[in-house]
Structures are given as structure tokens and as C-alpha cells.
Amino acid sequence: MTLLIQDEYPKKLLREDGLRLDGRGLTDLRPIKMEVDVIKNADGSAYIEWGNNKIFASVYGPREVHPHHLAKPDRGILRVFYRMATYSVFERKRPAPGRREKEISLVISECLEPVLFLELYPGTSFEIFIEVIDADGGTRCASTTVAALALADAGIPMRSLVSSCAVGKVDGQLITDLSGIEDKAGDSDMPVAMTWFNDEISLLQFDGKMNQEEMDKSLDMAKDALENVYQMQLEALKKKYIQIQEGI
């Protein structure tokens, strides 16, 4: 049987005053909070609140590959396991990982791999575990962002951080950082991530409808948003090292 309350979406996603339902302007990010070193047992960890998204990431490695046959003699491997808690969404998710979770895991893994020096770690693996405990649109971007932080927290050598954010289209307007409602009821969604060491795009997915001009404009908007996200990541890392220096 269905739940008593339906998960319904509004007809219009932009208000009369041109702002978005949550009061944001078209290119505003939602409030974002990041923190590193939050899971004691992990080699590195981080936590992010991005709007209503709440996500933990922890990193283990370099360590022995299990099962063995996945090990590569000439380089380390990176494995990402993105999961959503059953209670993180409106209608309870089944506990077993679904195809969507596996697909997002792969996307995040391919997006982070370019910043690692895996060739230095033959025969070993790095595992990143990501747990979304509350979801509200844009979890793959927030997860990529927090996973990069967890890698940095683990002290694993990286060419640069990776930052991620979505752009998209609602009611015919291009917007930055879609919320859950904007993602589901909107026209288009395009998660983007950049590897800062080469200023290139390492995650790019798009679903919806855009003409060539809108696509070009979206990529520019994404670049602006990612620079903001990047600064917040740096802040989170700085805060930890200040705390260490201050001996807290």
C-alpha cells in the first residue's frame, strides 16, 4: 500500500518575484557546512550538510585488496561505495544497494581518480564509503565534494581537491544547485565536478533538454559555483589544522 501522504511537487518552481521557492536567487548555493575528521576509526573522514543533505564519508587505505583478484600489479585501485540510508528519502528506501547507488559510486570514483597517484600504490586499494543519511537533491555532487575532503583528511597525496555542484533548468530558467524539488519537478539537471589541478571537468552528466547555447551558459555558471564550493572545502581543512596546532 502507499504511504498516507504523497510526495507531490508544485507546478511552478519560481515565485512571482523571480526568486526560487526557498528564497534563493537563480545562482545562489544552499547553505553548506563541512567538517573533517568526524569518524574516529577511519583513516580519513568528513561530513557535509548541503541544504537538507547530510552525508558522511570515510576513507580506508592504502590497504590490502579484498577480494584479492581485484588487485592490480602495477597500481592501486580506488573503490567508492555510495549508499543511502533507508530513512534518507521520503519513501523508505530498501536496505540493499540498488543500481542507482552502484552507478553513482562508479561516477564518483571516476571523477576522483584523476587526482590520485594510484601508480604509487601497486597491489593496494583505497576505499571511500559514503553514507547519505538525509537527502534533498544533489547528493552525488555533495558526496563527491565530501569524499574529496575525506581523502585529504586521510593525508593521501592528491594533485588537487575536487569540487562538485549541479546546474540545471527550471521553468525555463537556468539555475545553480538544484534542491530536491527542483531536481524532481524541474526540466534539467547537470551535475559537474572539476579537478582543480588542471581546471578540467571530471564529472559531467546531464538529463533534460537544453540547446547548445543554454549548455554553454550552464557550464559557465557551474564554474562560478564550483569556485565557491572549493573555498569552503579549503576552509574546512584549515579549521582542522588550526585546531591541531592549537592543541585542541
Binding site: L3, L4, I39, S45, F56, T86, R92, I130
Partner: protein, 275 residues
Amino acid sequence: MMDIKRVISTIEKNYIKNNLKKGERIDGRGLWEYRKFKITTNTIASAEGSADVSLGDTKMITGVKYDIGEPFPDLPNKGVCTVMAELLPLASPLFERGPPDEESIELARVVDRGIRHADCIQTQKLCIKEEKAVYILFVDMYVINHGGNMIDCGGVSALGALISSRIPKGEWTEDGPKWTGEYFKGKELINELPLPITFGKISDIIFLDPSLPEELVIDGRITISVTEKEITSIQKSGTATFTREEIKILGEKAFENAKKIRKDLDFWQYANNSN
């Protein structure tokens, strides 16, 4: 409780063991000393109820969701509450990916049995229409960091999540169950507060609230869930054996500690009063 014993070194294990046998714990606690709980509720917007609970280094986030389903034929006017636990590989190098293993099944079962047999939840309130539609409550526990004694932490987090919950109230119509516009509050559904209290045993030394390093060396443990006046479940695990006298003493200790925790945490403060 088997393979994970390999993770800390033999020297470290022997150190912990030998100290325990002298009645000394590596974190400086006395044998009958419990760690501190920290609890925050209603942290998950998507959940009907939630609790973020720490016990020492153990951290667990538990959420409550619901669905509407048909009742069991032999309990036609009672809702159902199920407890699930995931030991996230995020939380410890000891946890592996994959379907629930023995340890997570045990965690869920012991918490579930403590709740079920205490008549903790007024399941008859979770009925919309006899034989047709009842609530199924899902209490799902996710371990974020494993610092030992997940069961007691799970018991507290399940109660916190249930008490803080807010569930749309349904009524039966010709087209099936519909929302009345109102909500049940967790506190209206909860009768009793059963708490699991866990003890470790190594050789003939017994102690309260084992930490993770202690769990890695002990012979076994026993969990006694109690309400204010009654024992509602016991679960012994591991290869330790206990004398009858020990069991009797541990029963008393369980009542004593549960009383203290109940007082310290003051669960009813977490009732969700928003409409």
C-alpha cells in the same frame, strides 16, 4: 565476534586481557562503570523520527519510517514495528560490505526483542482498519563509528527515534487509507522504556559496557533488557559460560544501570511537539 579479533595486535590483546583480569580497564573505567550517552533527536528531515546517539566512541544514527500494509492474520488490529541495523563499512575496518552479517542481525534482533516483549509500543494504536490496514514502523539503525557495545547504544537510539517521531494519522475510507491531516506523536505510542544493558566476560571477570578493544578480547557477553520492573529479554553470546549466581547478580545490575540511564537521559523531553 570471530575474525575481527585479528585486527589488534597480540601484544595489545594480551595487555588488555591481563589488565582486565586484574580488574583494570584500558580506558581507566571501573568494572561496573558505564560510559556517557550523548543524544540529539530529529536530526533527519526525511525521517518521521530520528536520533543521533553516542556512547563513548560508538555513534549511531537511527531513523523511523512508516508504511501502510495488511496486518498479520493472527493480529488483525495491530501494527508492526521492525528493527534493522547496518554496520556501515564506513564505521570500522572490521565491518565488511555485503548483506547483513551475524553481528548486525544480532544487534537488530536484541534491540527488537527488548522492545517487542516490553510492550514498548502500543501496536493497537497503529491500526487504521482491522484486517485491512495497519502501520508498519521501520526503525533503522546505522552505525557511524564502532566503539563497542553497539547494542546498548542501539537500544537508546531506537527509543530516541521513536519518541521523537511524528507519523501521519490515517483513517479508513472506501478508497483505502487517507490522511486525516493530523499526526501521531511518538510519545503517544510508547508505553515502556526497555533498555538493554550489556556485560562482558573474560575468564571469571565480568564488567559493564565493553568498549571496542575489550570486545575484541572477551570470551562472551550478556545483554539483559529491562523496563522499570521487569526483565524483558536476555541474550548471551560468545563462548563464555555463566554460573546461576552470576546471572542473578547481573539482573540486579541491569535494573540499577537502566534506572540511572533513564533518569540521566530523561527520554520524554525528546517528544516531538510540533504539529
